[in-house]
């Protein structure tokens, strides 16, 4: 298709604002997908994505659309992952487009995270089409939300499209706006090939599929190619586009979106943002700008509950890494948990997704330790080291300085919660930066504001999001971005269970708060560790000094009731259920410790 007839766009929306439904509706209206193949969230192919209502992997689809001018257009929609952990991935998906549809819920208004993505799109010079969605709902306030879009982002009133993805109202208007307002791509098709990878996926038969936007030149079958950043070379197994199922076409030209099956074994060789070109004299010399290597922000140990499953866990991590280039891992051992892996994640959601996929798709029983950030340490000897686990923290006399990562957090909320937020941020060692008004309601407290704060990253890992939601009755939404490192005053809190120090339960806590933290952690562990055959003392210690002690009293009664009419099979089943519960626990010495206990440090503030 000639470039003047191609349009590439992305959808920016907050979770639940209707992105997936709108995408579904567009596929129906354009006939890109047969009705009989239609199901909800058709682009979200993972079970987890459907359950959580989020997009984990990016997706793309090509739709034919006959516009009002009577011409047939090729419209490519690039779906983006919808969570703060995946900001870089979102930026690359946006970079594959000339425009974006900004979808805002008519009952909710703009959220912090949406705004963050709008700024990303503006930085990339994307043409934005504002859409007020869900206008069919009784509680919808389309005019107020439209005004918010005009005031905050600076749209003209006549730019706003009103729609209901659910009923289909306005969907054709949106497609028409895409054709009219978003500029066509303009890459030189005769230049050396440069295509940007915006996602990658492993296919057991075709190897790694890279999802690409061709910016210049042509990608065709039969030519050897290479990924410039990762220096991976291959001859394509297949070239094609998305329908959204894979459709072979053998050629992709500048301006088009599609995929290349590389035959490569593992997506670690195909980082998002990489540049694809021809391998050899016809290839480009300069990669595309904007590439960033994956950077893990959150680290945790993942161990099999049953040490016999170590090899199975390693295989599972290898298989997951085929599809998830951002997941990092290396072998680690713990005196308490045995052999496992230290894993690095983009954020907490990413960690949660990886853990759930390991347990579900590979049927593993896992213990994950509490997530930690990466600290920078200067030793008294002047050495610089980085640590991402409490176990690695040196004793205080060997540390000259310790620094921790800080984040800039933006939170959108009604103005009446400004004070509540101030309190939450202060409790967590944070700082207030500024508050901007997004609109001006008659009742000042109803106006929506965008607050900016600075906090240690470690503080937002610990149930910050849940607290934010509960203290604002769900009205607040947040986004965060890493800012850099600041000096920290932290100590390691050690936990002894039954007299033995358990490395996997250690935590890094603010020094000033270490005593109370120790007491809270010991108390929480007392709640989480079930009663055993003997008294189990739990102690919290800082630098060898015990600051708290609790005791899990010995269990006295675990007995079956009346055996009814000789139903032995049923009694056996009850026992088997108990046995399964025990199997999911980790033996620390002779103490059975449930998985949740290793996350106790996250629950300490309850």
């Amino acid at each position: 298709m000639e470039q003047s007839r191609i349009r590439n766009f992305s959808i920016i929306a907050h979770i639940d604002h209707g992105k997936s439904t709108l995408a579904d509706r567009m596929l129906e209206v354009t006939g890109a997908i047969e009705l009989r193949d239609m199901r909800e969230q058709v682009l979200d192919s993972m079970d987890l994505e459907r359950e959580k209502g989020i997009t984990i992997k990016a997706q793309a689809v090509r739709m034919p659309f006959t516009a009002a001018d009577g011409n047939q257009y090729e419209i490519n929609m690039v779906d983006t992952p919808g969570h703060v952990d995946f900001t870089y991935e979102v930026s690359r998906a946006l970079a594959a487009c000339e425009g974006a549809i900004l979808v805002v819920d008519a009952t909710q208004g703009i959220q912090a995270q949406t705004l963050a993505n709008v700024y990303l799109a503006m930085d990339l010079n994307l043409k934005l089409i504002p859409v007020v969605n869900k206008i069919d709902l009784p509680s919808a306030e389309p005019e107020r939300v439209a005004q918010e879009l005009i005031d905050v982002i600076g749209f003209d009133p006549d730019e706003v499209v009103f729609a209901s993805a659910k009923t289909g109202v306005g969907v054709t208007d949106i497609l028409q706006a895409v054709v009219e307002r978003i500029p066509p791509p303009q890459g030189d098709r005769n230049a050396p090939l440069r295509a940007m990878v915006f996602d990658a996926k492993y296919d057991a038969f075709k190897g790694v599929l890279v999802y690409i936007r061709v910016l210049e030149g042509r990608a065709r079958m039969g030519e050897r190619m290479r990924l410039m950043q990762q220096s991976a070379r291959f001859e394509p197994v297949e070239v094609g586009y998305f329908r959204p199922a894979l459709q072979k076409s053998d050629l992709l030209e500048a301006g088009e979106v599609g995929y290349i099956a590389t035959g490569l074994k593992g997506v670690s060789q195909s980082r998002v943002g990489d540049t694809l070109t021809i391998d050899g004299p016809g290839g480009a010399t300069e990669p595309l700008p904007g590439y960033q290597p994956a950077k893990a922000m959150v680290f945790a140990g993942i161990y099999p509950t049953d040490s016999d499953s170590y090899a199975a866990l390693r295989d599972a991590l290898e298989r997951l890494t085929l599809n998830d280039a951002a997941l990092q891992w290396e072998p680690e051992s713990s005196a308490a948990l045995g052999f496992g892996f230290r894993c690095g994640f983009l954020g907490l959601l990413h960690m949660e997704i990886v853990q759930e996929r390991l347990e579900r798709e590979f049927d593993l029983d896992l213990v994950a330790t509490a997530p930690s950030v990466e600290y920078e340490l200067t030793t008294t000897g002047g050495e610089e080291i980085r640590i991402d686990s409490p176990a690695e923290l040196l004793s205080p006399d060997k540390i000259a300085e310790i620094r921790e990562p800080w984040v800039r957090v933006t939170i959108s909320m009604p103005a009446r919660y400004i004070g509540t937020l101030m309190q939450l941020v202060t409790e967590r060692r944070g700082e207030f930066d500024r508050v901007e008004y997004l609109d001006h309601a008659e009742d000042e407290s109803e106006s929506r504001v965008l607050g900016t704060y600075h906090l240690p990253l470690s503080e937002i890992l610990v149930e910050f999001y849940d607290q934010l939601k509960s203290r604002t009755s769900g009205y607040a939404a947040m986004d965060y971005a890493i800012e850099g490192y600041r000096r920290a005053h932290v100590s390691r809190l050690d936990i002894l269970v039954n007299g033995e120090s358990v490395d996997a339960l250690s935590a890094i806590v603010p020094t000033g708060d270490a005593g109370p933290s120790g007491r809270k952690l010991a108390l929480k562990l007392k709640e989480l560790i079930p009663r055993q055959m003997f008294d189990v003392p739990i102690q919290a210690a800082i630098g060898g000094k015990v600051v708290a002690r609790e005791t899990v009293k010995a269990l006295r009664k675990n007995v079956l009731a009346k055996c009814y009419g000789g139903d032995i099979t049923r009694k056996r089943k009850l026992l088997e259920k108990q046995k399964k519960g025990k199997k999911r626990m980790k033996m620390i010495g002779s103490v059975e410790v449930p998985q949740e206990a290793f996350m106790a440090v996250l629950k300490m503030r309850d």
Binding site: L555, K557, V559, G565, G566, T569, R572, L575, Q578
Partner: protein, 409 residues
């Protein structure tokens, strides 16, 4: 293996004996803690159809039991004392017609004190019932209300007096301890007053809040507290001491009897010997198989009738009332034998177990036995392996480690 299943006991005599269980699934009102196969308010015609179905089920099984002698009969429920004397006389006549009954048969019927009249007791005694097991549960009015029992403490005293007068000299009373909010003193009061009645047998069960019961939902909704396991443990320990003082011998985790008055029927379960269960939801361990009948009384009646009519017409007929069953493999048989046997105070005979399975308990369960001996939950005394005093209330901790390994989960 297939012809002489897990029953193979030490004495050859017992290999020819059979225990008979009959399930009566009807109740006036379902108790809040009960998760047994019992129903309140079933239509009258179903209750009327149930007795003929039981009789027909006996006819279906009788050929398979023709060489065996029935040593114990047990009517359980439900509330078997609700069954009319007419129906009872049909059922007992059929039992005598279809099975060989031992002259010293132990014949138990579970009874509810609520509607147990002197006339009914006389009738039962005349039909050959010689042991009554009465669901007392408590003598505290507030506890009876909490458990949704319909009778008063006074009714219990009267019912026991009437049973004695009717000639029942073998009486069991069921009690429940570990009730939420029940202090040790209340339990002690119940036990002391029960001891004044001098029953031959006492069963004391800790209350278990079973999923699916009314009690479970009340606890889940925080309308009432959960039972306190430590209070239950205190009550249990006090009970063991007190009943021993009163001349009762504890022979199983939850059962006490005056000398020679152990429940022979329940011993069959714990010895893993064969029993044939008849009625809706009844369980059998017969011809080496564990079998369960369908639970719903209407489906049970239909299934038995179809099987019986087919048998009449063709001389053959599958047993349609059977909902499921398993033939325990060797590992499961060993596990069942040791788990059931350890419920008894005397435990299991190491020599008998070794003779029966060709492998000693230590070879079959070595690490688990060693672990629990070290923890002080198991002990060996005079060639017997048994739970320690502390192990009685923690028996599940031992049993879970004795289950056969499942590789397919």
């Amino acid at each position: 293996m297939t012809t002489q299943p897990a029953s193979a006991p030490a004495s050859t005599d017992r290999s020819r004996s059979l225990a008979l269980y009959l399930h009566i699934p009807f109740c006036t009102a379902k108790c809040g803690y009960c998760d047994f196969n019992s129903y309140e308010g079933l239509p009258g015609h179903l209750v009327a159809d149930y007795t003929p179905a039981l009789v027909r089920e006996m006819e279906l099984w009788a050929p398979a039991a023709k060489d065996l002698t029935v040593d114990t009969v047990f009517f359980g429920g439900g509330t078997p004392s609700l069954t009319s004397l007419d129906d009872m006389s049909q059922i007992t006549a059929a039992i005598r017609a279809q099975f060989n009954i031992s002259p010293d048969v132990e014949w138990t019927l579970e009874a509810n004190p609520t509607e147990l009249s002197r006339e009914h007791l006389d009738g039962l005694r005349a039909l050959g019932v010689n042991r009554l097991s009465m669901g007392v549960q408590s003598l505290q009015p507030e506890e009876l209300t909490l458990l949704e029992r319909l009778h008063s403490p006074e009714r219990v005293i009267e019912a026991v007096r009437d049973a004695r007068a009717a000639g029942f000299d073998n009486l069991n009373l069921d009690l429940i301890f570990g009730i939420m909010g029940q202090p040790l003193s209340k339990w002690q009061d119940t036990v002391e007053r029960i001891l004044e009645l001098r029953p031959e047998h006492l069963s004391c069960y800790a209350l278990t809040v079973e999923p699916g019961t009314a009690l479970y939902y009340r606890v889940a909704k925080s309308q009432i507290e959960e039972p306190d396991p430590d209070v239950a443990a205190d009550q249990y320990e006090w009970t063991r001491t007190r009943l021993a003082q009163a001349g009762y011998e504890q022979y199983e985790i939850s059962n006490w009897a005056l000398p020679g008055r152990e429940c022979r029927h329940n011993l069959v379960y714990w010895h893993a010997e064969p029993y044939l269960g008849l009625g809706a939801g009844a369980h059998s361990f017969f011809l080496g198989r564990r079998i369960a009948n369908v639970d719903a009384p209407n489906r049970y009646v239909e299934a038995v009738n179809e099987s019986w009519e087919e048998r009449q017409a063709t001389g053959r007929g599958e047993l349609r009332q059977i909902a499921g069953g398993e033939t325990p493999d060797e590992a499961t048989q060993r596990a069942d034998a040791i788990i059931l046997g350890l419920r008894l105070m005397r435990g299991i005979s190491i020599a008998d177990f070794t003779e029966r399975f060709g492998v000693s308990p230590d070879d079959a369960f070595g690490p688990a036995i060693a672990k629990h001996e070290a923890l002080g939950l198991l002990e060996r005394v005079d060639g017997q392996l048994r739970l320690t005093e502390r192990g009685l209330l923690l028996s599940n901790e031992v049993f879970v480690d004795l289950l056969p390994d499942e590789d397919d989960d």
